[in-house]
Symmetry: C2
Subunit: 254 residues, 2 copies
């Protein structure tokens, strides 16, 4: 199994605090050591970092912890290989282009029996069930709409598509096109919204706390989504099994 981290904000925000706690799970507080990855939207563009080394001490992860890349949509993943070898092509998140937008996807869970025929223009490069499922999602999205539909409409389509895949195994995933961030839970996925008045947050996985108040303005809103809560002094909400949520501008829309 793996772990997921997502962030959606209404103003470009760095994810160094959350990522620092999250990366501890790649060898210190948990054993997700078979590679990791993170993608940051910046406008329409994407910064995409993947590494087959563990996030705890990878030089690339060190850069992410030190260099505060600001983004409104971030998806990160630490991997414990269950299907597919430990190699770069199998590291999440995966990126594809559809309708002139990049789409970023990361998955936690197994879909052992889900290998639908891919008859469209999206094919996996690596050997994971996750990338196969992502390619199928992209294929079906491209058939469902002629171009990028509004977020609400996309959410209905994604809910239907996720409903096809979820019964085949465990399908916790994060997906973003830079405009919204979708989160689907089969088992473990939690979320939190931070907004004014901002307070102190204390990481669960490391002895580190941050006071968001002096770092924010009253209009800032940030939603964080993670497999397990990253802080131990805030109220995280668990997704129900089968629930698909969408976050826009730092708050949950649906």
């Amino acid at each position: 199994m793996c772990q997921l981290l997502g962030m959606n904000a209404n103003t470009p925000t760095d994810v160094t605090f959350s990522f620092t706690g999250f990366a501890q799970r790649a060898g210190r507080t948990a054993d997700h050591t078979d590679g990791w990855g993170i993608a940051f939207f910046e406008g329409q563009g994407v910064r995409h970092f993947v590494d087959h080394a563990r996030a705890l001490d990878s030089p690339v992860a060190e850069l992410i912890r030190r260099y505060p890349i600001k983004s409104c949509n971030v998806i990160a993943h630490i991997r414990k290989a269950t299907q597919g070898a430990v190699q770069l092509a199998n590291c999440h998140p995966f990126v594809r282009e559809l309708w002139g937008h990049y789409w970023v996807f990361a998955h936690n869970g197994d879909l052992k029996d889900f290998r639908p025929r891919l008859h469209g223009h999206f094919h996996p490069v690596g050997s994971t069930d996750s990338e196969h499922a992502f390619c199928w999602l992209m294929q079906e999205l491209s058939k469902s709409h002629a171009g990028l539909p509004p977020v609400q409409e996309l959410t209905l389509t994604l809910r239907e598509l996720a409903g096809h895949i979820a019964p085949q195994g465990t399908f916790n995933f994060l997906l973003s096109n830079g405009q919204a961030l979708w989160a689907h839970a089969s088992t473990h996925l939690h979320w939190i919204e931070r907004r004014h008045p901002f307070a102190v947050a204390q990481l669960s996985d490391e002895d580190l706390q941050v006071d968001f108040a002096p770092l924010t303005t009253p209009s800032d809103r940030v939603a964080v989504i993670a497999t397990a809560p990253l802080t131990n002094n805030e109220q995280w909400t668990a997704f129900a099994p089968g629930e698909l949520g969408v976050f826009v501008q730092g708050q949950r829309l649906i």
Copy 2:
């Protein structure tokens, strides 16, 4: 205009020496300061770094200079914006997936009047003529072959396609699918093959030299392609206008 750097090798090789000289052109020895990018194939996977800051002092470029990522196919680009704003979505190289392989593309030159209709599944995310041309190349490749053909056959198709685009402007480009590296010249593009016996190379853009002999084995072969020669004590060969070359396993095949 921009500058290109490519490397093709028969054994995973780091590109830190060449990149160090190349990055000097992003503000010190030349003024290509409007963003940069580099992509490394690692097996079928790709590490893709882009930044809208200049390569001379970008923290991400600093990582590339210090962390010797080893690869058999590398494409890098430093940008001086002529078309399209300075933003991440406009930074080369661009990446797309076709036939279950990633394709990496970087371009130097202008194609002001080349805006063919894109009726397939590849659409630009940014606003550059370069990404538009890349999407057209991918679209036409996908129509020309049902799956990944042998390198020689792909080279014939690419030569034909490049011949359509080149008359529309300046079309120096590098393209790789991790198996081969193609280089096409309209104006400025040079290449060199390094093989046993390896010797000392001296950068043109910085007071730095490296003796490749103790770092290599007799069977190693590395080809480097660059807009302008990166070293001043080796014999680089200029591409002729309209020439398309392909490099496999560290040597020029065609």
